[in-house]
C-alpha cells in the first residue's frame, strides 16, 4: 500500500504533541511544510505510515533573539531569509546563502527549518549552514525539553536522532562575535540538490587573522563532515590546506550525476570557495 494516511492529527499543545507522537509511534510521521514527505511519498519509505501529525497549531513560526537566534521549527525558509535578525548578522549569512541555494521561490515559501533539519538529508543546504554555525536542535518530548548539537542530531539520512515521542520545536544558533559565514553549492543545473556543498564560518582577530571557525561539508556524502579552521593564519594562507583536508575527509557516493572522484575533488572546491567568500564578506560587508 503506498502512502495514504487516513488520520490527521493537529495537536494544540506541546504535551499533547508528545502524547500523540507516543500513541502513534511506528506508524506516524510529522509533517511541516510537506515538501520532503510528498517527495518520498511513492518511494516506499512511508508505506507504514497511516497517521500524519501536523504541529502547525503549536505556534512554532517565529524568530527571536536570545543570546543568539532561536527559530521556531515551523518557520518557513522565506521568513528566515528575509528576517532582519538574520540579515543584520554577518555570521548568519550562510543561512541566507543556503536558502537562496534552494532553487525555487515556491519551495522557499513552503519548506520549514524544522522540516529541513529533521529530514536529516546530507544534500539539503540549510543543515550544512546550521552545522557550520554550531546550531543546537531543541527537542520536546514526554520528559520535557532538551538540546542536541546539530551534527549529533543528523545521525543518518532520513533518521535524525529523535525518540518516538520527540519532536523538534526550535533551532538555536549562537552569535559568533567578529565572524562571518558563507554557503557554497555545486550543482549540475539550478534545480538540483548539491553535488557537493560547504558552509564556512570564520572568526577573525583584529589583525585579520583567523581565530577560529569551522567548515561543514554536505552534498553527495552519507553524513556531513566538519573541518576546524587553523588559528593564526590569514584565510588565503589556508585555502589550499582546507581544500586538501576536505578531500581527505569526505567519502562521497557515486551515481549517475557524478563519480566519487569528482565529488571528492569538488569537496575541496566548495570548501575553498565558501572560505573565500566568508572572508570576503568579513572584509567588505
Amino acid at each position: 500500500m503506498p502512502f495514504k494516511p487516513s488520520k490527521l492529527l493537529l495537536p494544540t499543545s506541546m504535551d499533547d504533541a508528545a502524547e500523540v507522537l507516543s500513541e502513534n509511534a511506528g506508524h506516524a510521521v510529522i509533517i511541516a511544510g510537506g515538501t520532503t514527505i510528498y517527495g518520498i511519498k511513492y518511494s516506499g519509505l512511508l508505506d507504514h505510515v497511516d497517521t500524519v501529525i501536523d504541529l502547525s497549531k503549536l505556534g512554532l513560526d517565529y524568530l527571536k533573539e536570545e543570546d543568539g537566534i532561536a527559530i521556531g521549527a515551523y518557520t518557513t525558509f522565506i521568513d528566515i531569509a528575509r528576517s532582519s535578525l538574520i540579515r543584520s548578522h554577518r555570521e548568519f549569512m550562510a543561512i541566507v546563502d543556503a536558502i537562496r541555494a534552494v532553487p525555487s521561490r515556491q519551495l522557499r515559501n513552503m519548506a520549514t527549518i524544522g522540516g529541513s533539519v529533521a529530514s536529516s538529508l546530507p544534500y539539503y543546504d540549510l543543515p550544512v549552514a546550521l552545522t557550520a554555525l554550531d546550531a543546537r536542535i531543541r527537542i520536546y518530548g514526554r520528559s520535557g525539553r532538551k538540546e542536541v548539537p546539530i551534527l549529533e542530531f543528523l545521525e543518518a539520512p532520513l533518521k535524525p536522532k529523535l525518540m518516538d515521542h520527540e519532536f523538534v520545536y526550535e533551532i538555536y544558533i549562537p552569535f559568533h562575535e567578529g565572524s562571518s559565514s558563507a554557503h557554497e553549492k555545486f550543482t549540475i543545473n539550478d534545480f538540483d540538490y548539491g553535488i557537493m556543498t560547504a558552509s564556512a564560518l570564520l572568526t577573525f582577530s583584529r589583525d585579520g587573522r583567523i581565530e577560529g571557525g569551522s567548515i561543514a561539508i554536505g552534498g553527495g556524502i552519507p553524513n556531513l563532515v566538519t573541518l576546524d579552521c587553523v588559528k593564526g593564519l590569514r584565510p588565503e594562507e589556508m585555502i589550499d590546506e582546507v581544500a586538501e583536508l576536505a578531500r581527505k575527509e569526505v567519502s562521497p557516493i557515486e551515481d549517475y550525476k557524478a563519480s566519487a572522484d569528482y565529488r571528492r575533488y569538488l569537496a575541496g572546491v566548495v570548501a575553498a570557495r565558501a572560505l573565500r567568500r566568508a572572508a570576503w564578506r568579513y572584509r567588505e560587508q
Partner: protein, 770 residues
C-alpha cells in the same frame, strides 16, 4: 483542387499582416487557464489504465496469471497477449503491443489493467504474477553485432537490422588519399528526453457507431488513425482521432506506441472510456528519447581549406524494435551530403538491435546529432589547417542554385550571410581572443525547409469557409502543440483574402473526421506545407468571392480587388462593397444563385521520394543558418556557462516574427541542454535518472543573451516566401558550444553532454600532459 504547385508565389507589394508581430492565436485561452489538455479531459464512466512492463531487459515469459488482479475491487479488465489479438506495430512491424513469448527491454508491455482509479490500476499491477526466464542481454550495439551475442529477435538470426541508409558519392577513399589534410574523430551523442509539460497519453472510447475514438496528444493524427486501425484490425474509417490542446511534443509523439493500442483494446473490451497518461516517471522511462549515435567522421581538405571528401560511419542502436528514431539516419544522411559543398561523400550506417530502449524522432530528427559530429570534426580540421573558422566555413558554404550529391536542389540559400552575421554580432576577432577562460565557437546547419518527403505523401489539406457575417474558418490538417502553426495559418489566410486578422478563426487539432489529411507536424514543415495549403484554399475563396462580386458590382472579376475587407473596382473605387455584405448578397439576394464560399485544397510539395540509391530532392526548399556561442568555462569545476548566442537563420521571409523568435529562444535553450547537461542515463537497458528532478534541463538562470537574426530572401516556393525553421536553432548549438569550449580552454569534447565532470576530466588530462 489538388496537385503540385511550382513557380513563384505572387507577393503583394504591401503586406498587411505578414511579418507583423501578432499574439499567438491560442494565447487568449491559455492565459486564462481555459485551454484543455489531455490531463484536463475526463469522461463519464471513464476508466484508468496502467501497463505492466518487464522487470528484465531480456527474458522469456513462461506464464502470466492475472486472476488475483482481476479480483481486486475497482479493477474492470486485465488484458494480456492471450486475451486480445493485436497486430505488431512499427516500421518493421516488429513490435507487438503486448508481448507473449519474450520481453526484449524493460519497457516491454506484458499486461494491462483498466480500473476505476489510476491508483487502483497501479496497485493491481503488483498482483499480476508473471514467471520469467531471464536471458543474457546485450546493451552495446558493437557487441551485439559480434557472433554469439544474444539474439534480440531469434527469428532474424542476427542483431543487424535489415535497413541500409548508406549513400556513396564518388570515390571517397581516393579523394581522402589525395587530400592535403585529413582529420578524423569519433563522436557520441546521448539519450535525450523530450520531456514536455504534457506527458504522453490517450483516451479511447468505442461509440454507438462502432467507431474507435481516441483523444491523444499525437503530432501525426492521420498516420495515427491508420496505424492504430492496422494494429486493432479495424478498417481505418472506424478510427477517429481527436487532439486536444497539446503541451509540447518536440517530435516524440510521431509513432503509435504500444500503449496507444493497449488503451484502445481496453476500451473495446470494457466498452467504457479508458484513459492512460504517463506519470512523469513513466514518461522518462518509456517515452521514446532522442536517438543516440556513434559517428566516425573523416574530412579531407586541400591545404587552402577546400573540402574534398567526407566519410561518415554511423552506428545506430535501434533498441529491440525499429522506430522513428532509427529513421533519423535518413536526415543524417542528407546532412552528410548536404552540409557545405563536399564533392565526395561516403555515408555508411549500421543499425543494431539491442536490449536498450528504442528511440523516437526529436526536434531535428537526427540533424542535431550528426551536425555535432560534422561541425566538431570540421573545426578540428580548420585548426589543423590553421585557418580562421569563419573563413574556412565561408570557403565551403552552400550556395543557391546548387545541387548536392544526393540530389537536394538548393534554391534560396543565405548561409554566407548567416555566417557573417553570426561572426559580427558575437564580436569575433579570431581564435583565443574572447578573454580569459572564454571562447567563441561556430557551427552551421543544413536542414529541410519545405517539408520532408519521408512518407509517400508529404501533403497537407486545408479548407476555408466564410460565414454570412464575414467570419472565415480555416481548417487545417496540421497540428498545433506550441509550434505556432495556428498563427502562421491565420496570418496567411487574412493576408491572402485581404481581410482583418480577427475575422480568421483557425480550426487546428480537433477531429480527423473534419480536417483534411496531413502527414503530421514534424520536420519544420508546418508553415511551409500547411501554410501553402491554407494559402491556396484562401486564394480559391478569394476567387469565388470576387467572381460573385463581379455580378453585383457589374465589373469583371479581374478588375476587382479585396483589401482591408473591402471589395472594390480597381478602375472605379466608387464601385465597392464590404466583403461581408457581399457575402450576404451572394447568399440571400433575391434572384442570386445562393452562393456560399467554401473551398478546400490539398497541397503536395514539389519534392521527390528518394530512389533506391538514396537519391532525390526530398524537400521543396532548404533552411540554412549559423550559430555562434560565447562561453565561459570554470576551469576549476569544468562547468560551462553560455553567455551569448547569435542564432542566424535563412527561413525565407519570416512571416510570423513572434513565432520565429520564440522558436529561436526555445531551440537555443534546448540546444544548450543537449550540449551541456541533458541525458537519460541508461544502464543495463534501464533509465537511471527517471525522476523529474533527476533529469537535468536548462532553467531560467541559464538563459544567455540570445540574438535571433533573420537572413536571406523570400523563397519562391514558400507561402509568402517562408521556409521552415522550427527545428533549426537546436541543430548547430552543441557543436558551436563544443567549438567555443575548445577556443576557451583548449580541450575537445567529442561526447555529449559536455557535463562539468567530462570537461573537468578533459582539462585534467591536458594539464597532466603539460
Amino acid at each position: 483542387m489538388s496537385g503540385q504547385v511550382t513557380g513563384v508565389v505572387e507577393v503583394k507589394e504591401e503586406l498587411k499582416h505578414i511579418s507583423k508581430e501578432v499574439p499567438k492565436y491560442d494565447s487568449p485561452e491559455k492565459v486564462v487557464g481555459e485551454a484543455r489538455y489531455l490531463a484536463d479531459v475526463d469522461m463519464p464512466g471513464m476508466l484508468h489504465a496502467k501497463i505492466l512492463r518487464s522487470p528484465y531487459p531480456h527474458a522469456r515469459i513462461l506464464s502470466i496469471d492475472t486472476s488475483k488482479a482481476e479480483r481486486i475491487p475497482g479493477v474492470v479488465a486485465v488484458i494480456t497477449a492471450r486475451d486480445v489479438k493485436l497486430n505488431p506495430i512499427g516500421f518493421m512491424k516488429d513490435n507487438p503491443p503486448l508481448k507473449s513469448n519474450k520481453v526484449r527491454s524493460v519497457r516491454d508491455e506484458v499486461a494491462a489493467v483498466a480500473a476505476v482509479d489510476p491508483e487502483i490500476a497501479m496497485e493491481a499491477l503488483d498482483d499480476i504474477e508473471v514467471e520469467y526466464d531471464p536471458l543474457p542481454a546485450v546493451f552495446d550495439p558493437l557487441k551485439a553485432l559480434k557472433p554469439g551475442a544474444p539474439l534480440i529477435h531469434d527469428e532474424f538470426g542476427t542483431n543487424s537490422v535489415n535497413l541500409d541508409f548508406g549513400f556513396e558519392a564518388g570515390d571517397v577513399e581516393a579523394a581522402l588519399k589525395a587530400a592535403d589534410v585529413v582529420v578524423e574523430g569519433t563522436y557520441r551523442t546521448q539519450y535525450v528526453a523530450a520531456n514536455p509539460g504534457d506527458t504522453m497519453g490517450a483516451l479511447a472510447w468505442m461509440d454507438a457507431h462502432g467507431v474507435m475514438n481516441v483523444m491523444t496528444n499525437t503530432q501525426a493524427p492521420f498516420l495515427y488513425q491508420r496505424w492504430l486501425a492496422e494494429a486493432l484490425g479495424l478498417p481505418g474509417y472506424r478510427v477517429r482521432v481527436v487532439q486536444p490542446y497539446i503541451g509540447g511534443a518536440f517530435g516524440r509523439s510521431l509513432d503509435v506506441l504500444p500503449f496507444d493500442v493497449i488503451v484502445a483494446a481496453l476500451a473495446m473490451k470494457t466498452r467504457r472510456p479508458v484513459k492512460l497518461q504517463f506519470t512523469r516517471a513513466e514518461e522518462l522511462q518509456n517515452a521514446p528519447p532522442k536517438q543516440p549515435i556513434i559517428a566516425m567522421v573523416k574530412h579531407g581538405a586541400t591545404k587552402d581549406g577546400k573540402l574534398v571528401a567526407r566519410s561518415v560511419d554511423l552506428v545506430i542502436d535501434s533498441g529491440p524494435y525499429v522506430s522513428w528514431g532509427v529513421f533519423d539516419a535518413r536526415v543524417m544522411q542528407y546532412t552528410a551530403t548536404g552540409l557545405y559543398q563536399v564533392p565526395f561523400v561516403n555515408f555508411k550506417t549500421k543499425v543494431v538491435y539491442t536490449n536498450n530502449p528504442y528511440c523516437g524522432a526529436q526536434r531535428s530528427a537526427g540533424n542535431s546529432q550528426i551536425t555535432f559530429a560534422l561541425e566538431s570534426n570540421l573545426e578540428e580540421l580548420a585548426e589543423e589547417l590553421g585557418m580562421d573558422p569563419v573563413e574556412f566555413r565561408l570557403k565551403n558554404a552552400n550556395k543557391p542554385g546548387t545541387v548536392t550529391s544526393q540530389g537536394a536542389k538548393i534554391t534560396t540559400c543565405a548561409m554566407e550571410e548567416a555566417l557573417r552575421e553570426a561572426a559580427e554580432r558575437i564580436g569575433w576577432r579570431g581564435r583565443r581572443s574572447a578573454g580569459p577562460d572564454r571562447g567563441i565557437g561556430f557551427a552551421c546547419y543544413f536542414h529541410v525547409g519545405g517539408g520532408a518527403r519521408i512518407y509517400r505523401s508529404d501533403g497537407c489539406g486545408a479548407a476555408v469557409k466564410i460565414d454570412d457575417f464575414g467570419g472565415v474558418t480555416v481548417i487545417v490538417g496540421g497540428t498545433e502543440y506550441g509550434n505556432g502553426l495556428d498563427t502562421s495559418v491565420q496570418l496567411i489566410v487574412a493576408e491572402e483574402l485581404g481581410i482583418p486578422l480577427d475575422r480568421v478563426k483557425v480550426y487546428i487539432n480537433g477531429d480527423t473526421n473534419i480536417r483534411l489529411w496531413d502527414v503530421g507536424t514534424h520536420a519544420s514543415r508546418g508553415t511551409f506545407v500547411c501554410g501553402n495549403a491554407a494559402l491556396h484554399a484562401a486564394r480559391e475563396a478569394r476567387r469565388q468571392l470576387l467572381q460573385g462580386a463581379a455580378e453585383f458590382l457589374d465589373e469583371s472579376s479581374d478588375d476587382l480587388d479585396l483589401k482591408d475587407g473591402m471589395i472594390y473596382s480597381k478602375k472605379n473605387y466608387e464601385k465597392r462593397m464590404a466583403y461581408d455584405k457581399m457575402i450576404r448578397r451572394m447568399h440571400f439576394f433575391k434572384g442570386a444563385k445562393g452562393t456560399v464560399v467554401s473551398t478546400s485544397y490539398f497541397y503536395e510539395p514539389p519534392s521527390e521520394e528518394q530512389d533506391k540509391h538514396g537519391y532525390g530532392n526530398i524537400s521543396a526548399a532548404y533552411g540554412f543558418g549559423c550559430q555562434s556561442a560565447l562561453v565561459e568555462v570554470d576551469r576549476e569545476t569544468g562547468k560551462v556557462k553560455v553567455l551569448k548566442v547569435v542564432s542566424a537563420h535563412d527561413a525565407g521571409r519570416v512571416i510570423n516574427p513572434n513565432g520565429f523568435k520564440g522558436q529561436v529562444h526555445g531551440g537555443v535553450m534546448m540546444g544548450i541542454g543537449l550540449a551541456l547537461i541533458e541525458e537519460l542515463k541508461v544502464s543495463g537497458g534501464r533509465v537511471l535518472n527517471g525522476v523529474f528532478e533527476e533529469y537535468k534541463m536548462p532553467r531560467v538562470v541559464d538563459v544567455p543573451e540570445i540574438i535571433p537574426v533573420s537572413v536571406g530572401e523570400p523563397d519562391p516556393a514558400g507561402p509568402f516566401g517562408a521556409k521552415g525553421m522550427a527545428e533549426s536553432p537546436i541543430i548547430p548549438m552543441a557543436p558551436a558550444i563544443a567549438n567555443a569550449i575548445a577556443d576557451a580552454v583548449g580541450v575537445r569534447l567529442r561526447e555529449l553532454p559536455m557535463s562539468p565532470e567530462r570537461v573537468w576530466r578533459a582539462l585534467r588530462a591536458i594539464s597532466s600532459t603539460r
